[in-house]
Amino acid sequence: MSKRLIREALNIPSSEITSESIYKQRRRLIQAAMSAAILPAFAYPSFARAAGYEIPDDLPRYPGPAWLRQKLASAVRNPDLSVSDELAPYYHIITHNNFYEFGTDKRDPARYAQNFKTDPWKVEISGEVAKPGNYNLEDILAPHALEDRVYRLRCVEAWSMVIPWLGFPLADLIKRFEPTSKAKYVHFTTILDKEQMSEQRSSFGTIDWPYVEGLRMDEAMNPLTLMAVGVYGNALPPQNGAPLRLVVPWKYGFKSIKSIVRIHFSETMPETSWNVTAPSEYGFYANVNPAVDHPRWSQATERQLPSSLLSPNIVDTLPFNGYADQVAHLYKGMDLAKWF
């Protein structure tokens, strides 16, 4: 019963969401419905469990290492920070990936990352923090309860998906390592493993591996910024950035770095991979902005996947990907055309 209600609650045609005002209207409506207990199932934490997601039997599941399973199962939906758009199907989320380390075709990561070793996993914490060190992922995650959050993901290539992540706020993690007053930026680094990642061996690639991304400290501390370890009620599949990835929903997808092995704090702005590779095309900030086009294509609209051949499901792109209320203040007074 509750499962059906959830399906219905999530089953809102995304084509209806064309403007921020309508989106907010719906949020209010759902919140009103919740408080009126018309949809009691929506408020139950239990529904965020893996069982709440319909995964077709013929698709692979990723239970994750044994030590992670209990944590994943007890994840609770955070309704305040979740959008109510219809979810992208699980199949799309696990087969349509930009993870260039495993190949540049969208289907490559799902094909070639299946044997990628994600456990055991270590993360190095370094730079301007009181507690640097080399930590096991298990210890990194230990004190954090997982939340289930439905975010929009807008790729810089003008397609988008709505994805339910399992993770915890990056801010909570950062606080544990006690950054010094000099920590102005956070750098993230993806694993460098030429044996497992074919594209890192390619002679024709222009990215200088390993992949590096970064955030300003206030961006990293924003409650929306998520460290994800799961998706769709399961552990992260390797093609989606297992075992630990960043999710920054108001920025283009390439900011949300995958398979992180290093988090570094510094006073200076990190040299991020795409920015270094093509500085005129990809800025450090990379906030979703319909008003600033990529030099080679428009960012005014996006194809929201899944789209069918005869109706590409084109929707208007929203400033900050629809998260302007939560993050626009971070960029007050900045010329967003210059700091794209």
């Binding site: 349509h96 540049t104 222009t206 080679r296 051949l309």
Partner: protein, 196 residues
């Protein structure tokens, strides 16, 4: 080997179906849900790949005859050229239909503002006169001018190459191969020109 008229016909049908097979494969994969989560993008990319591949094959006919002595290639040059146009048109149509959904506002900005789409459209536009003057009758009627007109294929190939290069995100392996092949194909013409 079958000889005479029957052999020619057989060979014609063989090549005709062979060059149609990429489209057929795309259809079969689409129907079997084998094109992944974003079939639209895959279809557009594949059709573009075959258009440029066929253009390169068309350009290989002359060197094939002169260097390898494969004179039979000549009778397939028109077919290769027409298939190039066929795949290029499908490439553009599938872009406009599957990716843009015929939204004229988007199409207009894409066709005027995006350098790679401008260049690609120009290449396709220039293919039109070549396509419609490809018949034997037109070849006879135009005489010497036919050859002049059809040397448009060289600038077209450069435009297509540029269009392809502008798709590069980070890995340029495929584009490098096509560029090297084009350099050989066009370089051979320069060599022939200088010698004569």
């Amino acid at each position: 080997m079958v000889s005479g008229e029957k052999g020619r016909l057989l060979r014609w049908w063989f090549f005709f179906l062979l060059l149609l097979s990429p489209l057929a494969a795309l259809f079969v994969n689409l129907l079997n849900d084998n094109l992944g989560a974003d079939p639209a993008k895959v279809i557009v990319k594949e059709l573009g790949f075959w258009a440029i591949t066929l253009l390169w094959l068309t350009l290989s006919v002359t060197p094939g005859i002169k260097l390898l002595g494969w004179r039979w290639l000549m009778s397939f040059r028109r077919m290769l050229g027409l298939y190039t146009f066929f795949y290029a048109v499908l490439h553009l149509l599938s872009f406009a239909t599957f990716l843009v959904g015929w939204r004229w506002d988007i199409l207009l900005t894409e066709l005027t503002k995006r350098p790679y789409i401008v260049v690609g459209s120009l290449a396709l536009l220039l293919l039109i006169p070549l396509t419609f003057t490809s018949t034997k009758a037109m070849q006879r009627r135009l005489g010497r001018r036919w050859k002049k007109l059809h040397s448009l294929v060289y600038p077209i190939s450069l435009l297509a190459m540029l269009h392809f290069i502008w798709q590069i995100r980070s890995d340029f392996g495929q584009q490098l191969i096509f560029a090297i092949l084009l350099a050989i194909l066009l370089g051979y013409r320069l060599y022939l020109n200088r010698r004569s």
